[in-house]
């Protein structure tokens, strides 16, 4: 017990003084997620506001040929500006990025309209450019509306009720709740927590084998009258402490970020108050042991610090895979998913954020199976720590 505690406290002290560990545990993990998240949310909000009719500029070539159309577009908050001087410059202007969209109204537009021949206009856009695609969609929608308006007028003029043109009227009814809508966007949150907690212990896990070996401190350590099981346990537990700190910080930083995000503009009210923060912490706690032992295990097979870092970046990504697959297939929580670490935590967390009733059995299976795998991996680490090959 004393050996374990000695190793444990020494690792804590050693790593608190190590700027690299501290940066990754207390800054990188906890800050990276929320910052990226805030960025993505802000972008979605910007886009949502874009769609709500704010002013958009539309360069037009030949606006003099269609004064009524121009007035209609202006009534839809589209500001008509002069396009490229020569009529053939539209494609070039879009290609070069001078304009995102250019509308060309040919000279014969008025004539064709008068003759009830479909009057042609050309809309130049670059579909590979997402901003251009959005503006083109808006211009197209406006033109479509103008088209329908003209059609309705023509039908009325011929004594036909324009309603014959819409035999079906579809009403969209969205039953999702504000919390539920948040869950879609906040689904990526659980990965950030797992990422942050893994980052917190990464350097400690490497240090246990590859780091000690590279520094030349492993052999003297192993020649001391202590059992290797106690050494590795002390090291893994110290890693767990850093990972728990990292997790707690990232939960709290998310909590703060969400408070300041205007999520209600997106029609979202995530259930992420302090009680959920606490619940999420305890839910993810078993994953810490698993993560620490898994990283220690992977690092123990590597020859050097650098190699360990390379392999551990793969470990950082691994927990995303089940989450990603389930998100793509939009699978609902099922009993068997609860045996899969990272996936079970993700699914339960999403339910928490959605403010849906939690399934006690699911939580129990998630906690117990994740813990069991963690204990097993720790045991394997301890076994491997006895190998001679450890010395490299």
């Amino acid at each position: 017990m004393r050996t374990f505690l000695t190793v444990f406290f020494k690792e804590i002290l050693d790593n608190i003084r190590d700027r690299r560990t501290l940066t990754s545990a207390l800054i990188m993990g906890p800050i990276f997620g929320p910052v990226l998240f805030a960025f993505v949310i802000n972008m979605s909000i910007d886009r949502a506001l874009d769609d709500a009719e704010n002013m958009m500029e539309l360069p037009v070539i030949g606006e003099q040929h269609a004064p009524n159309l121009m007035r209609f577009l202006e009534s839809r908050n589209i500001d008509i500006i002069a396009g490229p001087a020569e009529p053939d410059g539209a494609a070039e202007a879009v290609k070069s990025g001078a304009h995102d969209v250019v509308l060309v109204v040919p000279a014969e537009f008025g004539e064709q309209l008068a003759d009830t021949i479909p009057a042609r206009v050309a809309l130049y856009s670059d579909e590979a450019n997402s901003q251009g695609e959005k503006e083109a969609r808006r211009a197209r929608n406006a033109l479509q509306a103008y088209n329908q308006q003209l059609a309705a007028i023509r039908l009325s003029a011929r004594g036909i009720n324009p309603r014959v043109l819409s035999p079906i009227n579809v009403d969209d009814i969205d039953v999702s709740t504000p919390s539920g809508r948040s869950a879609m966007l906040l689904g990526m949150m659980s990965y950030f927590f797992i990422f942050a907690l893994l980052m917190g212990g990464m350097y400690l896990a490497i240090d246990t084998t590859a780091g000690e070996r590279e520094r030349g401190s492993l052999e003297p350590l192993l020649s001391l009258p202590v059992t290797r099981g106690q050494l590795i346990l002390g090291k893994i537990m110290a890693a767990c402490v850093f990972m728990a700190a990292s997790l707690l910080l990232s939960l709290l930083s998310f909590y703060v970020v969400l408070k300041f995000m205007p999520l209600e503009k997106l029609g979202m009210t995530p259930n992420f108050g302090l009680p959920v923060v606490a619940a999420a912490f305890f839910l993810l706690l078993p994953f810490i042991l698993l993560g620490a032992s898994l990283m220690t295990l992977v690092a123990s097979f590597t020859k050097s610090y650098k190699e360990a870092q390379t392999w551990l970046s793969a470990v950082l990504i691994a927990p995303t895979l089940p989450i990603l697959i389930v998100s793509i297939l939009t699978l609902r929580p099922q009993l068997e998913f609860m045996f899969v670490p990272s996936l079970s935590q993700h699914l339960i967390l999403v339910d928490m954020v959605k403010n849906e009733p939690l399934n006690g059995l699911h939580i129990a299976i998630s906690v117990v199976s994740t813990l069991a795998i963690g204990v097993l991996l720790t045991w394997v680490c301890a076994r491997l720590y006895r190998r001679e090959g450890l010395l490299g």
């Binding site: 004393r2 190793v7 052999e219 003297p220 020649s223 001391l224 009258p225 202590v226 010395l391």
Partner: protein, 243 residues
């Protein structure tokens, strides 16, 4: 007292140690001498229990290094080749860490650490973090932490590597002090003069085998060479290693 009895050790196809036997008695300094790659480090690593011999056995004061490795480790203080320190801990903390791991009584630790620090004359930098220490400073701290629990048997793998004249001298004085205190000191080197100046017994190994195991005078006599360097060269030829 350290007893080595016919140990063999291979790494893959390399047969590094081929039946090495010798004894390092208490109150004497035993030198393990040999060219680079002779199997000195491998032999010592078996003794401080980080490697297991493929054949043969070794014991420290009767404790077998394989069957009872924990008991064997309790009786030794080891300075592995190129031993490293924890750069974020001070020299004192590095030494105290080992003292704690050696289960020295908590109330005694501060005194023990302080006394080993003064014995090795490292007071000047004892409270600095070891990051950026010179090779000599690192070796002294490594030695201090290896000796903090006052082991009966001391195993040093090329301790004078990278040390300047002053540091080598103080190391020599320390080794002699340990001898006078009745300790068993076993150290390896590839420098004949250094070994000759200190050791009571010299075990010359080459090519993984013991070439000669004798006192300095005995080695001179058996090789018929007055010059120590010539004696060393003649000795290693006995086990079939060309110059």
């Amino acid at each position: 007292m350290i007893t080595v009895d016919g140990i063999h050790k291979s790494f893959g196809k390399v047969h590094a140690v081929r039946g090495v036997s010798f004894q390092a008695p208490d109150g004497k300094i035993t030198g393990l001498l040999g060219p680079n790659g002779a199997g000195k480090s491998t032999t010592l690593r078996v003794l401080y229990t980080v490697l297991k011999p493929d054949q043969g056995s070794a014991n420290i004061d009767g404790a077998d290094v394989v069957k009872d490795s924990l008991a064997a480790r309790k009786k030794i203080g080891a300075l592995p080749h190129g031993a490293g320190l924890y750069p974020h801990l001070s020299a004192r903390e590095n030494i105290a860490y080992y003292a704690n791991l050696c289960a020295i009584d908590k109330s005694e630790i501060d005194d023990r650490v302080a006394s080993i620090i003064s014995l090795l004359e490292i007071e000047d930098f004892a409270d600095r973090r070891t990051k950026g220490f010179s090779q000599g400073q690192r070796t002294k701290v490594s030695l201090a932490r290896a000796l903090v629990h006052d082991p009966q048997n001391v195993i040093l793998d090329e301790p004078s590597n990278g040390l300047d004249v002053m540091a080598t001298r103080s190391l020599r004085r320390l080794i002699l002090k340990l001898k006078d205190a009745g300790r068993c000191v076993l150290f390896s080197s590839h420098v004949m003069q250094e070994v000759a100046a200190l050791c009571d017994d010299i075990c010359i190994i080459a090519n993984g085998q013991v070439a000669i195991d004798d006192s300095v005078a005995g080695i001179r006599e058996r090789t018929g060479e007055e010059d120590l360097e010539e004696a060393f060269v003649t000795a290693i030829k006995l086990v079939g290693v060309e110059e």
